[in-house]
C-alpha cells in the first residue's frame, strides 16, 4: 500500500527527479516551435489586434501594427517566403521559385513540408503523452488508457483521424498551402502584378493578376479551360485548375476548408455548452425544469432543420449580423440554436444516471453548491457522450453549410465556400471544366466520411457497448 505522501508529489518535483525524458522532449519541441516561431507570434499579434480593435480609442494600435510588420520579417520554415512557388520563365530558366524548380515542383515541396511539419508536431505531442505516462504519472493505469488503447486498435477510426487531421491542417495552413494567396488572387486581383514569359514577343511581360485571371477562366471549351495540375497562359500553376472566373481553385478550396471547419467546430462547441448546461440543470433539479426543457427541445426538434436554416438566413439577410465574418457568425448562431436539443437529448440519460449516484448525495451533504456539484461531479461523466455525438455531427454541419451556400444563402462572396464552388461549376460538369464542381464535392464526401469514421472510432473507444440506435440522427446525411 502506497503512503499518501508518495502519491502527492507535485508534477514539477517528479520531473526534477528524473529530468532526462522531459528535457529531450522539450528540446525537440523547441526546435519544432522555433522554426515556426515567427508564424506563431504573428497569430498572437493578429489576435491581439482584434482585441485592441474592440477597445474604444485603440490604445497602442500603431505600436502593434509596427510590431506585426516586424514579425513578418522573421523567416519561418512553412511559408511561401521560404519556399516560393510564384515565379516566371525567363526563356532559359525559372526565376523566383524555390531552388529554380518549376512552380509545380516548388508548390509540391511546400505542401509536403507543411504536412510533414504538422505530423511531426502531432508525433511530438503523442510522444509527450507517452513519456508522461511512462515516467511521470502517479498511477500505472487510468480508464483513459483503455480508451486510448481501444482507439489504437481501431483501424477505421484511425483512417478517420488521418483524414480529419489532413483537413484540419488544410484549414490551419491555408495561406501556406495555396499556390497563390487569397489577397492577391481573390480579394484584390487588380492590386498585384504577375510576370510571365510571352511566347510571341519572346520576352518577360507583366500583367495585372485580375487581367491574367480573365484570360485563364475555366468555362467549358478547350481553349477556355485550365484543368487540374496544369499551367495557365501566364505560367501560373493550378493544382486543381481554375474556377469559372480564372481564380485559382486550390486556393479557394483551402480557404473554404477554413471557414467550413470554423463554422462546424464553433457551432458544435456552443451547442455543446448549451446542451451540457441544460442537461446538468435537468438532471440536478429534475421535475418541472426537465419538463420545460423537454418541451422546448421537442419543439425545436420538430422543426425541419434545413427549412429553419433557410428561413433564418433569409430573415437576417440585411442585418449587421450577416456581415460578421461574411455571414459565418450568423450561421454559427443558427446552428447552435438548432442543434443544442439533439446534444441535450443524447446526454440527458447519462446525466440522470450520474445524478442518482451516491457521491452526488455525499457532495451535497458536504455543503457543496449545486453549481459545484454539477461542474465537478456530474459534467465530467457525461462529457464523453457529448463528445461522441458532437464528433458524429460535424460532417452533417459541413454538408449543410455547403448546401446553404449552394442555394446562395450561406457564406457571402468573395469568401470561398465549397458549396458555392459546386454551384459555380454546375453548368460545366459535362464539359472539360468538370473539375470546378467535382473536386469540392469529392472533398466534402471524403471529409465527411473521415469525420464519421473518426466519430465511430471515438464512440467505440469511449464506450464499446454504446447503443448504435440513435446515430442516424447524428451522422451525415441531409442537405
Amino acid at each position: 500500500m502506497s503512503t499518501p505522501t508518495e502519491t502527492e508529489i507535485p508534477l514539477r518535483q517528479r520531473v526534477a527527479e528524473n529530468p532526462q525524458p522531459a528535457l529531450i522532449w522539450a528540446a525537440i519541441g523547441a526546435v519544432l516551435i522555433g522554426v515556426e516561431l515567427g508564424a506563431i507570434l504573428q497569430v498572437i499579434a493578429a489576435i491581439a489586434g482584434v482585441i485592441i480593435n474592440l477597445i474604444p480609442g485603440d490604445p497602442g494600435a500603431a505600436a502593434l501594427s509596427s510590431l506585426q510588420e516586424s514579425l513578418k520579417t522573421i523567416p519561418t520554415l512553412v511559408s511561401r517566403d521560404f519556399i516560393p512557388n510564384q515565379g516566371y520563365w525567363d526563356g532559359s530558366q525559372w526565376v523566383g521559385t524555390f531552388l529554380g524548380l518549376s512552380p509545380a515542383a516548388a508548390w509540391a515541396v511546400r505542401v509536403v513540408v507543411v504536412y510533414a511539419y504538422a505530423f511531426a508536431v502531432l508525433a511530438w505531442l503523442w510522444n509527450g503523452y507517452k513519456r508522461y505516462r511512462q515516467y511521470y504519472r502517479r498511477v500505472d493505469w487510468t480508464p483513459r488508457d483503455d480508451v486510448v488503447n481501444r482507439f489504437r486498435g481501431h483501424t477505421w477510426g484511425q483512417f478517420g483521424l488521418v483524414i480529419t487531421i489532413a483537413f484540419v491542417v488544410m484549414a490551419i495552413f491555408a495561406p501556406a498551402l495555396g499556390p497563390t494567396t487569397m489577397e492577391e488572387n481573390i480579394l484584390q486581383p487588380y492590386d498585384y502584378e504577375v510576370s510571365y514569359w510571352d511566347e510571341e514577343t519572346q520576352s518577360v511581360e507583366t500583367a495585372l493578376v485580375g487581367e491574367a485571371n480573365l484570360g485563364s477562366g475555366s468555362q467549358g471549351a478547350g481553349d477556355e479551360n485550365v484543368g487540374p495540375m496544369s499551367y495557365d497562359d501566364y505560367g501560373r500553376f493550378h493544382p486543381f485548375g481554375t474556377a469559372t472566373n480564372g481564380k485559382d481553385l486550390f486556393t479557394q478550396v483551402v480557404f473554404g476548408a477554413r471557414i467550413s471547419l470554423t463554422i462546424a467546430v464553433v457551432a458544435m462547441g456552443i451547442a455543446g455548452i448549451i446542451g451540457l448546461s441544460l442537461a446538468m440543470i435537468t438532471a440536478y433539479y429534475k421535475g418541472l425544469a426537465d419538463l420545460a426543457i423537454v418541451l422546448a427541445s421537442d419543439s425545436i426538434q420538430s422543426l425541419p432543420v434545413i427549412m429553419v436554416l433557410i428561413l433564418m438566413l433569409v430573415i437576417f439577410q440585411g442585418t449587421w449580423l450577416k456581415d460578421l465574418y461574411d455571414g459565418a457568425v450568423l450561421i454559427i448562431l443558427i446552428f447552435s440554436l438548432v442543434y443544442w436539443p439533439f446534444i441535450w437529448r443524447s446526454i440527458r440519460g447519462p446525466a440522470f444516471q450520474v445524478s442518482e449516484q451516491d457521491w452526488i448525495d455525499a457532495a451535497k451533504s458536504f455543503g457543496q453548491t449545486p453549481g459545484q456539484v454539477m461542474r465537478k461531479h456530474m459534467a465530467p461523466y457525461v462529457f464523453s457522450y457529448m463528445l461522441i455525438y458532437a464528433s458524429l455531427s460535424l460532417g452533417g454541419i459541413i454538408i449543410s453549410v455547403a448546401g446553404l451556400s449552394y442555394l446562395g444563402l450561406g457564406i457571402a462572396p468573395p469568401t470561398p465556400e465549397w458549396g458555392r464552388l459546386i454551384a459555380d461549376g454546375q453548368q460545366y460538369v459535362a464539359s472539360p471544366s468538370w473539375h470546378i464542381s467535382l473536386i469540392p464535392g469529392v472533398l466534402i464526401t471524403l471529409v465527411v466520411t473521415g469525420l464519421n469514421a473518426f466519430g465511430d472510432g471515438i464512440r467505440d473507444a469511449i464506450d464499446p457497448q454504446a447503443d448504435t440506435g440513435d446515430e442516424a440522427a447524428a451522422t451525415g446525411g441531409g442537405a
Partner: protein, 349 residues
Amino acid sequence: MSRWQYFLRRVLMSIPVVIFGTTITFALIRLGPLDPVSAILGTQYNPQAAEQIRQNLGLNQPLWSQYFDFMYRLFTFQLGQSWVIAPGTTAYELIQVYAPRTIWLGFWSVLIALFVGIPLGFYAGLHPNTLSDYVASFGGIVWRAMPNFWLAIMLVTALSQTGQWTNGFFTWQTWIVKTNVVTPPALGFFESPLQQFLEDPGGWMNSFIKATKQIAPAALVLGSASMGNEMRIGRTAVLETINSNYVETARAKGVSGRSLVWKHIFRNALIPLVPIITGEAFLLLGGSVFVETVFAINGLGWLFFNAAINGDLPLIGTLMYIFILILVGTNILQDFLYTVIDPRVGYEG
C-alpha cells in the same frame, strides 16, 4: 403504466410541441427584421401604399392579437393567402399544386431506400467480414457522406450524357419512354385514377411509368442518406441477433437455415430500424429543397425556398406549420409502431 397509456401520453405531449414550434415560427417571421410590406411592394415602395397594406393585413393590430389570430387560423386550417409569389392564391391551392410532386418524390425515395438499404444491410450482416460485406458497408458509408445536391448534379450530368458516353447504345432520355432528365413529373394520371385506367389502361400505364422514370433519379439521390443509415443499422441489428442466445437455441434445435433467417433473425432485426425509417421524414423534408432545386421538381421544398427568399411570410408560416405537423405525426407513428412491435416499451414509464 400500460403501453397504451404511454402512447396516449405521448400523443398529448405532442400538442404543446406543435404550439411551441408554431410560436417559434411566428416569432421568426413577425419579430424578425424582415418587413413583409416592403417585400410585397418591392421597388415600388411608397408610404401610402405601405400603410394601406399594413391596414389590410392587420399588421397594425397589437402583436398579441396578431399572434392569436395567426394561431387560431392555423389550428382551424384557414391557411391564408400567398402575398408575394402568387398574390391572391390561397396557400391551400398552392399546396394542392405543389405537394403531389413532393409526395411522389418522397414515396419513391422511401421505397428505394427501404428496398435497397435494408436488404443490403441484412446481406452484409449475414455474411460478416467477407469482401462483399466490406464493399457494401464502405459503399454505404461513402454514399451517405455525399452531399445530396452534389450527387444530384452529378447524376443529372451523367444521365444527360448517357447517349454520348455509350455512343448512342443507351440513352436515358429515350429509354422505355421519352422524358427529360430535369423536369417536374407529370402527375395528371393521379386525378381520378380508376376512371382513367378503365378508359385507357395503356395510356394510364404509360403516364405512370413516365412519371416514375422522371422521379427515379431524384428519388435515388433523396433516399441516399437514409439508404446508408438503414444499411448500417440493418447490418448491426442482424449481427447482434445472430449472436443472441435464442438464435443459438433455435439452431441447436435444428431449425432450418431459411426459417432461422426469416422467422428469428429478420423480424427482430427490424426493431432498431423503426426509428430510422420514420426518421426519414426529417431527411426527406430537409433534403427535398436541394434535390427539387437541382432536378427542377417544383414541389413543396422548392415552394418553401421561393417563399422564403421572396419574403412571402404567410405562406412560410403555413408551410412550416404543415412540416411541423408531418414531423410530429411521424414521431407519433414511430412510437405507435414501437408499442405494437416491441412489447417491452412503456412499462418502465
